[in-house]
Amino acid sequence: MTDHLLEVRDLSVQFHTAQGIVRAVNGISWHLDRGETLAILGESGSGKSVSASAIMNLIDMPPGEITSGEILFEGRDLLKASDEERRRLNGKRISMIFQDPLGHLNPVYPVGWQIAETAMAHGRGKAEAYDRALALMERVGIPDARASMGKYPHQFSGGQRQRLMIAMALALKPDILIADEPTTALDVTVQAEVLSLLEELQEETGMGLLLITHDLGVVAEAADRAVVMEGGLVVETGTPRELYHNATHPYTRKLLAAAPGKGAMREPEDGPEAILEVRDLKKDYGGFEALKGVSFDMHAGETLAVVGESGSGKSTIARLVLRLEEASSGTARWKGEDLLTKSPRQMGKLRRQLQMVFQDPTQSLNPHMSVFQIISEAWVIHPDILPKARWPERVAELLDQVGLSPEHAKRYPHQFSGGQRQRIAIARALALEPDLIICDEAVSALDVSIQAQVIDLLGKLRDELGIAFLFIAHDLPVVRDFADRVLVMQRGEIVEQGSVRQIFEQPCAPYTQRLLAAGLDSDPDVQADRRAARLALAGN
């Protein structure tokens, strides 16, 4: 019994807030063995990240409080260990990949140093630590790793940052790796590489992997066992196969049923003229060409998905079109007018029509404002949308639509889980009732049931109000369900564009083909076959 590498028994965590006590985790128990991968699936906000933080001793106490339970690492109760002991374990024996990479990287230090520091903090020499950091950055696929070591977090794309976090956590080959949504921002090819890297490490060192994810495909591919959480409780455990085929708890069943990629594909209708015409858009970051001349059109009420390699410039397009950064060259015509030459004042007027959900939801929410203030800010800025008396009602409605409850309106961003924050960001964008919403990985942190609910909502808005979506995503099944047309990007260029059907059924570009092939299926059996085939291929 005690030879489990890590065992959590009856763990409960709660938070004190102005509105009272929030019970985030309510007596959960599970265990993790050497060399094993345990997936934690579950609803967004069900306590997955909080329980992981408890293991790492990272909960702020107060306002957090661990009210019961034990966390046994190699038989020792971590909750009784001293801070110094736990510090020594952290990073070396137990490592963690955080859900929100941008906030968790120190903005003022070069990433190379930050990765190397893990090793240095545990007594390794500087040269060794840096060598290892470089090797890891290459392993996780950071382009031009040596030069990138000296760059700062804000100079990387979302996916790249996530990979930097992974490299940081792996630096000392820990016994336990807690990976909190490690692949949410990664395109499937990179995701596959990362998963195989983790697997290799497991084979090499017997590392136990605690994989927190909502991606059923990842569970099917990588997990030995899975735990399903809901509302701070563990509702079901089992192997992926057992769960997939014989789930007993209604939530698990709901989750599996919600797995995307099974619906009918949409057919783009020709007709409405283009509302956004992007031509030859280029962006140069001090010699590095992030965008090398991108052109595409968008029509009213259409969903244009942008998929592609991590770091290929997807978010950059969004930032340039919205004038958060200045393009090096090119044009972006919005209903005939070039956005890129507008003065800030003119741009301000247009902004209401174009909204964005940012890739890093945490950083995009003002920590000083309550959720109510964040959402209603739209109406403060554009008072003609809604009379003040109706704000509370509408905030409650929006929160409900994205799967949050009206009570959440009083809380502040830091009191939410990753997925919850993402939904707040979505609600904020919707509050403005714009003509175009740019969703940058807007549903990547949501569990599939909520994801389905949100996608449904977006679909309804598209159909009823004619809102167009520029949908940047890496999750192919979601794209398949939701998009009208798809752009595929690689290294700052559009390699292919076409209707969903065309892209998914007759991909032309080799990169698209690779992308589709790397996609994961939520059925563990299907995934096992694919895996066997891939291994066989590699074996030859």
Partner: protein, 324 residues
């Protein structure tokens, strides 16, 4: 831990029905508005004391001159430099008498008005102008920013004393003019602090998010950037209170500031300076008043810093339960 409900109750029915609400649903309702602020104040004993002290000071400033003007200016050479804590001359002499035998307590109370007018006027003025200019310099175009910053350089290198001599020589030493001088000399600190922070904060994602929503510059500055900078500005401002009071004292000492028979704490301190080694209480009590006021303001601003910051506020909200 005592008051937390036991964890073993497990999931309730309600949780099973709407799991989302279960985690989020507050167990106890939270108070709102003024009550809540008061409760947070009570949670920090030092801040509470500070607030009380400041209320007293403000009351003195408002009421003191109405009741004590006579007593505070009546010379009585027999009580000259009367030592403190002797009650035979009456309670007014509890802090002793000054060089003309006027009761120090009455004079301190009396001086509160001028002192507060000058200090609050100068600090508020410099903070307002300084941080506004700083916001503009940090947020506006290169040119405007550059001009403002160089202006700050000029003010920073313009000796305050010279400014005082110029203004007070040309415009006569009045409280208003003194406030003007002191305010101008303190502008650069707020200006530079604000600008430096704006440069960083404006790059943050939530500011960009607000831009995307079409927020006006003004809104971005005041609603998004300012709250991040405000705590720092407040910290500086509260300490500047002391600085201004003492600077005023130094000017009086040199003969350019407020002069007798007007009184301020600073003036009392500077007049008591000569007696420091013989009748320490002359300079000590007004000095103590300055220290206590500054300290109260600062402790209150520390408290405010926590109370205004949602990620820190729990320190006050869970108050007595668990403090460290």
């Amino acid at each position: 831990m005592s008051n937390s409900t036991t964890h073993s109750t497990g999931p309730t029915d309600q949780q099973a029905v709407t799991p989302e609400a279960a985690v989020a649903a507050p167990v106890t309702g939270g108070p709102s508005g003024l009550r809540r602020i008061l409760r947070m104040l009570v949670a920090d004993k030092l801040a509470l004391l500070s607030a009380l002290f400041l209320v007293i000071v403000i009351l003195c400033a408002i009421l003191g001159p109405l009741f004590l003007a006579e007593m505070a200016s009546d010379t009585n050479l027999r009580a000259r430099n009367a030592p403190p804590f002797e009650l035979e001359r009456g309670f007014a002499y509890i802090l002793g008498g000054d060089a003309l035998g006027r009761p120090l307590l009455a004079r301190i109370v009396m001086a509160a008005r001028n002192t507060m007018l000058i200090a609050a006027g100068a600090v508020a003025g410099s903070m307002l102008i300084g941080s506004t200019l700083g916001l503009i310099a940090g947020y506006a175009g290169r040119w405007t920013g550059e001009v403002i910053m160089r202006l700050a350089d000029v003010i920073m290198s313009f000796p305050s004393l010279l400014l005082a001599v110029i203004v007070l020589y040309m415009l006569a030493p009045s409280i208003g003019n003194l406030v003007l001088v002191l305010a101008i000399t303190r502008i650069p600190i707020y200006l530079r602090t604000t600008r430096a922070e704006v440069l960083e904060v404006r790059k943050r994602m939530f500011v960009q998010a607000a831009t995307v929503m079409g927020a006006s510059r003004r809104r971005i500055i005041f609603r998004h950037i300012l709250p991040v900078i405000l705590p720092t500005l407040l910290t500086i401002a509260t300490l500047d209170f002391a600085f201004v009071m003492l600077a005023e004292s130094a000017l009086s000492f040199l003969g350019i500031g407020i002069q007798a028979p007007e009184i301020t704490w600073g003036l009392m301190v500077s007049q008591g300076r000569a007696y420091l080694t013989n009748a320490w209480w002359l300079a000590f009590w007004p000095g103590l008043a300055i220290i206590l006021t500054t300290m109260s303001l600062n402790l209150l601003s520390s408290w405010m810093r926590v109370a205004l910051n949602p990620t820190q506020r729990w320190r006050l909200e869970i108050g007595g339960k668990k403090n460290d």
